[in-house]
């Protein structure tokens, strides 16, 4: 039995402006996949691991030293819109 999903909400969280028709298709596809993936729900396992790293090492740090930054011209050459050294975007809505 496919799982019921609030697909519009998920699409909003993920910032994907999908049409209603698209949302319907994805909703049903996701339902099928999750049905399959939900087999993990019955799994009885150990408490959650905090690192999936197979070699299990910890404390990978770097020293507090500066490295050269990128050349601004090279970065802004990739920007869709820039001005006086800034990236330009339309006004944002209020922050979350």
């Amino acid at each position: 039995m496919p799982i019921d999903i609030d697909i519009a909400h998920v699409a909003r969280l993920a910032r994907l402006a999908l049409s209603d028709a698209e949302l319907e298709v994805y909703k049903s596809q996701l339902g099928d996949i999750l049905d399959h993936a939900a087999r993990v729900q019955s799994f009885e396992g150990e408490p959650q691991i905090d690192s999936a790293h197979p070699l299990g090492f910890v404390n990978a740090f770097r020293e507090d030293e500066t490295r050269p930054s990128l050349d601004r011209a090279e970065i802004l050459a990739q920007a869709p819109a820039s001005e006086n050294g800034y990236f330009v975007v339309p006004p944002a809505m209020e922050e979350q």
Partner: protein, 484 residues
Amino acid sequence: MTWEPVIGIEVHVELATKSKMFCGCAVGFGADPNTNVCPVCLGLPGALPVPNRQAIEWIMAIGLALNCEVADRSVFHRKNYFYADLPKNYQISQFDIPVCHDGHLDITIDGEARRIGIERAHMEEDTGKSTHVGDGGRIHAATATLLDFNRSGVPLVEVVSKPDIRSAAEAREYAIELRSLVSELGVSDARLEEGSIRFDANISVRREGTEQLGTKVEIKNMNSFRSLERAIDFEITRQIEVLEAGGQLVQETRHWDEEAGITHPMRTKEGSSDYRYFTEPDLVPMVMGDAWVEEVRSGLPELPAARRARYIASGLDVDLAGVLSDSPKVLRDTYEDAVTDGASSRAAANWLTGEVTAWLRRTETDAGDFQLTGAQLAELIAIVDDGTVSSSAAKEVLEGVLDGEGEPRAVAEARDLVQISDTSTLEEAVDGALAANPDAVENYKAGETKVIGFLVGQVMRATQGKADPQLVNEMLREKLASLS
């Protein structure tokens, strides 16, 4: 029944490391936009974070200074949300296993000590900066937003207090004390006006005597200690008004408008923030270990609270201890040296917090350029104690020493400020004054004892003000007594 405000303060501290939290870009204020960026802090495809060890040491220092427990094992999480100034559209932060937790900060309010609990201190990265441009430069009339990512990735420590604060004044004290502590540790510039320390408040109210918490409102955009206090006061009043009118409060984030003196709701996205926290898979866990914690702990400087307590124990009253503790380090160092050289702690503290501080301000001298050794201060105090100069003359001597004219005794002599305390010289002057003012003598003998002030004045005039007025006073009394 009265209302009780329940307040928690969240502080964001930008660490003054050389490089950013997860990459080697320089940390600095005021650079040209987008000149301190790299694939990592710009969120370019393929970039990966690597944590700055110094930042971890410094958050441990902050936590230990706040009497926190340092976690044995701590991890980073991704906090997922979309915003233009957040390049990866997730922030590397910490969720349920912060580096530090469960501490406290002691403050003094209205002469009473209060202990404010610290919930946690965790590590995260700062975002870039948005500038809204358009009509009036105000958010709601903006036509475009300019983005600068120089600040993106700067190490940020978030300190969250427990909701133990009960007034706006307390909140202000807490903020001031925390800022001072962080600055003292040397881990941050901690300048409110530059944004290297930022405060948000969480406020609710409840009927006094009840346990249940009211609706919590977050207040942002308080850019000075004064506005912090004003904003919280306003919000408490607002909340009480709403509740007393039978209304309901909305759990929301509000923006403090300094000009208008009000908080107003920030336009939030419909749908609450679901940050979808999960352990950061590009990083491995941190294991602090006892050895590292002890190393950091032993490297901590003396903190304000401990220092104040030490001053009080050495004889300063609470207020003087507080003022001295808040003075620049050079003055405090001078204090320590002077006391070591035998000066009275109270005298040394009074001179430094009084005349010396006034002189620095008057001459617009930077504390860093100030030249007064502890030995000099001790000598100054000594020459007042032994009567070489009067206490008013001593102020001139101090100025001379500060101006670099020499040691206190030498300056006193050079400026001809040395009091005459030699008894035979004084006796001559005293006798002279008595002889020149027989009416005064008669009046004194008739019972007008305050005439002695006039006589002291006469002696001072005769000695060009250099007589030791105390000695003169004593000698006059003796002689007058023997004349009756």
